[in-house]
Amino acid sequence: MNVLFYLSSAIAIAATIMVITRYKPIHALLYLVVSFMAVAMIFLSLGAPFVAVLEIILYAGAIIVLMIFVVMMLNLGSETAQQEKEWLLPKVWLGPSILSLVLLGEIIYLLLRSGTGNASFIFIDSKKVALSLYGEYIIAVELTGFLLMAGIVGAAHIGKHKKKHLHRFLQEEEVSTKIEVRSTKPEDEKQTKPVAYKP
């Protein structure tokens, strides 16, 4: 099993590196699928087949597909790739990468310092997970339901075509400026006026 784990870990890391270095979104997404599948293999090697399957179905399936849809809808192609290419220069990525490496070093140091050696492998089947999920975590499941609901409604609401709205406080401020003599300069008022965007 260890062989499987190390192999899939290597694939996962390599694929992820590819993800974050691609210029074209669609390439990155394809590497992401590879990365997710490799992680699913790691799950399997850790004795968690249920989540391994879920990883494939949901991450590599649903979420990636969503993203691909969006990429297609927005028609992100060579133009975006060009933009990214111009952007991704060493002076841009070097600093953050070094910082991230420092973080990684710290984490690894901490992990190794508190290391407790090998642990025995315990297989946890989906039944156990299900009992726990609908037993002690039932409230959390409910809340997750709410979250998904809110996600759906939010996505539907945000994704709608609509005009820009002005908050009612800002509207009231405009009314009051007509009544009283304002001390602020008139230029300020122009900024608060609504600029309707027409697609």
Binding site: P96, S100, L103, E106, L110
Partner: protein, 629 residues
């Protein structure tokens, strides 16, 4: 009898209230009736009470009336309590009687003025405050009257408020008297702390037991009270407001700045004589201030050209005589001089007012002249007043009072030859400038056309006052001539007798010297301004005399001195700090936080990457703490 006391101030107060609330809608005749009538009625009541007082003296030689409890805390209480004793009687009589005459005079004098009602309202309020001042049974109530007359003085000096100079004069009067008042207030606090009371009879009885003669506390009290008196009575060094106060209408000058209010200091010292007697230093200071003032003001009067300013300086000088008398311990002489002075100085101001009005508001005496035959009533009455001011021997009231003072200045207990010398020099100067005034105004050529002549309402008060200026002195004769001392008998029911020191020349010598000096002054004036004016021309040519004249003309430069020492630094101080230096403190805090905000706000640049780096650094830091902490 006691119940009538409250009516005396209440009547003018009622007049004030009616006139101030409804005055704008009343016709002038009714305003005049209310204004003059209320004071006249008060005068009648005063005379009635005075008769009673003389015929059957009340127990304790005082009528008292308690109106209501004003304020009371743990150990302090003050009531609206009135008290009428001999000293008060003299003052109340002058205030109401002379006041009534001046009110009657004003009904005609002010007849063309737009603010007729305001004038009489203020005058009535003044009379009421002045009455409260002299009738108060405790010093707090007296302070009420004291400040009240200050207010009325302010209102009436600035009566023609549309001229900025008048307002400035009014403000000056208020400011300077306020300085004195503040000193007096501190005196009251000290007095209260020492004696635990501000009730006048209690102070009179407790003070001798509580204080050692000459103790520092009682000296401080007396000096502080004296400072209050100096402010109100325009004594050196607080005298500069009075000449400017002549900006008010002439009746105001007559009533407030000659007859009554400016003598409040005299009243205060006489009223508090027990305290002053306990402090030789304060007595000497009073006498010295009186002596210096009478000389300084007399010199200034010689050089003035404005008729009212001459009279104002002479008022300062005459009050100096009163202070001198009080300071040497000649209590009744001081009050007596107040008594006669009230008549003749009121008369002089009213007559001057008549002259000024007839000459189209001309104040400069050198543009008057030749009025002797054209305004005979004014001339003769003015002459009577001038005679009293110059203290012409035997025929004028001023002689009797001033002669007493001169005599006591040497011979009374605290007197000494130096004081006498200054006083006699003052007498010479007085006689001189009075003669100058008379001759320049009434003799010579007419220089300004005479307009409207004064009517009956103005001349009758003048004549009454003129008669009084002559006969008022006859109630108190020098001891060595006729043994008649009605006035001192009266006031000595309250005031102590004047004690003489041993070993001084006989009184008759002093009288002869005084009479001679007066006549010399008159003669000098006659020579210089009438007979041989060329001497004057010669003097005018010499620069030394001219600069001396200018020095006197400017009142010894006190105004300039105060201007440089107090007024300009004060203006400077307030001007540089107009926007409040402490504001910098909180503006500094605000600016600092704004600067900090500007420094830090570059971190809030809207860039997502920037924020994530912030988070990242935070995590690294926290983990670093785990590793090395």
């Amino acid at each position: 009898m006691n119940n009538l006391l409250a009516l005396i101030p209440a009547l003018p107060l009622a007049g004030f209230l009616i006139l101030s609330l409804t005055g704008r809608h009343l016709p002038k005749s009714i305003i005049a009736g209310i204004g003059a009538g209320s004071v006249s009625a008060a005068a009648l009541i005063t005379i009635f009470i005075g008769m009673q007082f003389l015929q059957s003296p009340p127990t304790g030689n005082a009528y008292t009336q308690t109106l209501w409890q004003w304020m009371q805390t743990e150990n302090f209480s003050a009531g609206i309590d009135l008290r009428m004793d001999a000293l008060t009687l003299v003052f109340v009589f002058i205030i109401t009687f002379v006041g009534a005459l001046i009110h009657i005079y004003s009904t005609a004098f002010m007849r063309h003025d737009r603010d007729y009602a305001r004038f009489f309202a203020s005058m009535n309020l003044f009379v009421c405050s002045m009455l409260l001042l002299v009738m108060a049974d405790n010093l707090v109530l007296m302070y009420l009257g004291w400040e009240g007359v200050g207010l009325c003085s302010f209102l009436l000096i600035g009566f023609w408020y549309e001229t900025p100079a008048n307002v400035a004069a009014a403000n000056k009067a208020f400011y300077i008297t306020r300085i004195g008042d503040t000193a007096m207030a501190i005196g009251l606090f000290l007095l209260f702390r020492e004696l635990g009371t501000l009730n006048i009879p209690e102070i009179m009885t407790q003070a001798p037991a509580h204080f050692q003669p000459g103790a520092s506390n009682v000296t401080w009290i007396a000096l502080l009270l004296l400072a209050g008196g100096m402010g109100k009575s325009a004594q050196l060094p607080l005298q500069t407001w009075l000449p400017d106060a002549m900006a008010g209408p002439s009746p105001v000058s007559a009533l407030i700045h000659a007859a009554t209010m400016v003598t409040a200091g005299v009243y205060l010292i006489a009223r508090m004589h027990v305290v002053f007697q306990l402090s030789p230093v304060a007595m000497a200071a009073t006498a010295a201030i009186g002596a210096i003032t009478l000389f300084v003001a007399g010199c200034s009067a010689m050089a003035q050209t404005d008729i009212k300013r001459i009279l104002a300086y002479s008022t300062i000088s005459q009050i100096g005589y009163m202070f001198l008398a009080l300071g040497v311990g000649a209590w009744s002489a001081g009050i007596f001089h107040f008594f006669t002075h009230a008549f003749f100085k009121a008369l002089l101001f009213l007559a001057a007012g008549a002259v000024i009005e007839s000459l189209h508001h001309e104040h400069n005496i050198f543009r008057m002249g030749g009025l002797k035959d054209r305004m005979p009533v004014v001339f003769w009455t003015f002459l009577a007043g001038a005679a009293a001011l110059a203290a012409l021997p035997l025929i004028s009231a001023g002689f009797y009072s001033k002669d007493q003072i001169l005599w006591y200045a040497w011979s009374a207990q605290n007197g000494n030859p130096m004081l006498w010398l200054v006083a006699i020099a003052g007498a010479l100067i007085t006689a001189f400038y009075t003669t100058r005034l008379m001759i320049v105004v009434f003799w010579g050529d007419m220089k300004t056309h005479i307009g409207e002549r004064p009517g009956k309402a103005m001349t009758i008060p003048l004549m009454i006052l003129a008669v009084l200026s002559i006969v008022a002195g006859f109630i108190e004769w020098p001891h060595n001539l006729v043994h008649l001392s009605l006035f001192s008998d009266l006031v000595q029911r309250y005031l102590p007798e004047t004690l003489l020191q041993e070993g001084h020349p006989p009184e008759i010598i002093f009288q002869l010297v005084a009479a001679a000096v007066t006549l010399l002054g008159v003669y000098a004036g006659y020579v210089l301004y009438y007979k041989n004016t060329s001497i004057l021309e010669q003097w005018k040519a010499s620069p030394a005399m001219l600069s001396l004249r200018n020095f006197f003309y400017k009142g010894w430069g006190f105004d300039d001195l105060y201007d440089t020492v107090f007024v300009r630094p004060f203006y400077f101080l307030t001007r540089i700090n107009k926007s409040d230096v402490f504001d910098l403190l909180n503006k500094g805090i605000a600016t600092t936080s704004q600067r900090l905000n500007e420094w830090f706000s570059f971190s809030q640049n809207g860039s997502l990457r920037w924020y994530v780096v912030g988070v990242l650094i935070g995590i690294i830091f926290v983990l670093g703490l785990q590793i090395w902490g």
